[in-house]
């Protein structure tokens, strides 16, 4: 029994961490955050060159052939750095095709997605919090899809959109499809831009395997991993600030109220890393437990992230509420992680149902 990472996995995290430190330090991050479309070609190209574009794509299609746990480990590090860009949607699209595509579809799309030649994304949720595949209403008829998908990561930029449709199926729509309208959403998280996708008899291809639930579960795990990374980063920001900010002639970290709050913050997040590790591992190896573990990890970690974001603002005082402070960037990522694919209360109820409580 080994509840830990392999040397390769630790190396992977370190490599990505080094890349982020070098290619996406705070000034760069803020530039993209403030920018028009939350996308930086150099940064994305760098990630793709590292092989991050096709982490879970089989080697036979030009990918790294890794598993969800590896992908989640990378997402943790990207969450730590609040790295902006289309990685989340792209990864889920590659996973959807890998799990559910026909050999021909894989052949056609996966190499391009892995190499970064094409950008993928997923269009899952619909209005009224319809995140559950069973609740989707987009309709497919004679190779054409019609419907509204509410929050599509980097929908404006994606070449390929994996769209969730009624009955829990997935179809692929390309950028060039007629009947495809993509409008930017004025999203809260400027590091992960969203679009609203309207499909009006848009030509599409169905993925033959029914993997929508699996893709949703993978998404939950990745949001949980991002939340763990982001929350850990917030705690270190709060700790650093408290050590340096002085009031009444001493660092505020000297005040027991602040000191104990910081202790509570690290106690909230540090033990929770295993929740996303286990959920990813279950996705890869223990299918019976995967769905519930994913729901629990997402509910718990995204709620922690949000709470720690509030705490971090409070530790910072007024400055923490300014645009100028970097805290806001993670605060808004916390809002994204908490809300996207369904709020904690929703997934906690699923946790209860899936255990037959």
């Amino acid at each position: 029994m080994d509840f830990g990472l392999s040397d390769e996995q630790e190396l992977l995290q370190e490599t990505v961490r080094g890349f982020v430190a070098k290619e996406c330090p705070s000034p760069k991050l803020r530039e993209i955050f403030e920018g028009q479309d939350g996308y930086d070609a150099t940064l994305w190209d760098g990630m793709v060159k590292m092989g991050l574009g096709g982490l879970v794509v089989p080697e036979s299609y030009g990918g790294a052939g890794l598993e969800l746990l590896d992908l989640a480990l990378v997402v943790e590090v990207l969450g730590e750095g609040a790295v902006p860009g289309p990685f989340f949607g792209h990864s889920l699209a590659t996973l959807a095709l890998t799990l559910g595509g026909s050999p021909e579809q894989k052949e056609r799309w996966l190499p391009q997605l892995a190499s970064g030649e094409a950008l993928g994304t997923v269009a899952l949720g619909e209005d009224n919090q319809a995140w559950d595949p069973a609740a989707w209403t987009a309709k497919v008829s004679e190779g054409q899809v019609t419907g509204e998908k509410a929050y599509v990561p980097y929908g404006e930029r994606a070449d390929l959109i994996i769209v969730g449709v009624g009955g829990g199926g997935l179809v692929a729509v390309t950028r060039e499809s007629s009947g495809l309208k993509v409008e930017p959403v004025n999203g809260v998280d400027r590091t992960r831009r969203l679009a609203r996708v309207t499909l009006q008899s848009a030509p599409c291809e169905s993925l033959p395997e029914a993997v929508a639930d699996r893709v949703r579960d993978a998404g939950l795990v990745l949001l949980a991993a991002d939340a763990f990374g982001g929350a850990s980063k917030l705690v270190s920001m709060a700790v650093e600030y408290a050590k340096t900010r002085e009031q009444f002639g001493q660092p505020i970290a000297q005040f027991q109220a602040v000191k104990h709050r910081l202790a509570d913050m690290i106690t909230e997040i540090e033990p929770a890393r295993g929740l996303y590790w286990y959920a990813a591992h279950a996705f890869d190896r223990i299918p019976d437990e995967a769905e519930r573990a994913a729901a629990l990890a997402k509910a718990h970690l995204s709620d922690c992230f949000m709470q720690l974001a509030r705490d971090t603002v409070e530790v910072h005082g007024g400055i923490g509420f300014t645009w100028e402070s970097d805290v806001q960037i993670w605060f808004k990522r916390a809002m994204f992680d908490r809300t996207f694919l369904g709020a904690p209360a929703y997934h906690l109820e699923r946790v209860a149902q899936l255990a037959d409580w």
Partner: protein, 402 residues
Amino acid sequence: MDLSYSEEYEEFRREVQAFLKGYWPLQGDEAKLSHREQATLFRERAIAQGYAARAIPKRYGGSEREADVLKARIIGEEFGKAHAPGDIRSIGASMLVPTLLEHGQEWQKERFIAPTIRGEMVWCQGYSEPGAGSDLASLQTKAELDGDEWVINGHKVWTTGANIADYMFCLCRTEPEADKHGGISYLLIDMKSEGVQVSLLRQMTGTADFCEVFLNSVRIPAENIIGKRGEGWNVSRSTLKHERNMIGSAEASRATFRSLLKFAKGVQLNGRPALEDPVIRQRFAQIEGYVTAHLYSGYRQLTLAARGQEPGLAAMLNKLTSTNIGHMLAKLAFDLVGDQALESPSGDEVMNLKPRGGQAWVSQYMWSLGIAIAGGTANIQRNVIAERGLGLPRDRAVQRSN
């Protein structure tokens, strides 16, 4: 205990209602004036009638009536129902004017009070600095007397309304040799003075409700000081005392509670009306307990004040109670807003987009509650409650640094 008003007060209420019926909204040509002009005009009439500026002597432009919290409350209620402009709620009227009345020289009162309570002169408050937040008395902005002028250099933050203010009341260090609290003076700065530079401080919501003010060799007349040199700290404390409000924070909490409840009635969560969700119902009922307690505590403080008694400990708790309720409401709002939490809380100048959907105001208000939670303010409040309210020992670091 009698929750009705006595006949005397019901009569007073009818008078107020009759006045409002006759005078608001303005009629004829007056209705064509700008809203601000209309408000000033109406306010003058309300003052003449004794319905505004009641605590201000007539010679400074007030209506000089005997303190009567119940009448004040009736006026507030009736003006509120009629959406009529009553006492101006500016920082100048609520903080500077009481300070002037207590510590100002005669010429200062004559010059500043009347235009402030009419809303013609707008003030901002220059207290906080980048290095002086909860430890306000550590402020570093310097004022040196040069002939008959103060020369001021420094940097103020969180200055609400500095971009539209005519004047700033400001704490500056004038006696560098004195101890921490003893070296501060309370000065009035004309915002049009040379060397005053105001910039907006953008919040994480994307909007800018606060300013920074840079003071670069700003010169003001030596006479623009309230109280004596080095007494500014105590002068400003009396301002903070006036800032306290026995009932306002509770009524604001209740208003927010009600508007969130109203919002919840129109919201679907996971496929059913949010208010049918037992968890949401429990949370609303729980918060209603706090909101109602807060409100009744305000009524009780009001009653004690009307009887000439001290509200004591209860009054020290109002602010922290409001903050706690704000916390609970913001968290609940967060869970009600659903996927709109994915959308920006404010218009976005970069993408030139407005928030989608008529209910986007909720996310706006969810964020604005967020402001209340920021800062070491709640911890300072806890110190005050513990030390002054419960008689617990003072904080050693705070004591040492004084």
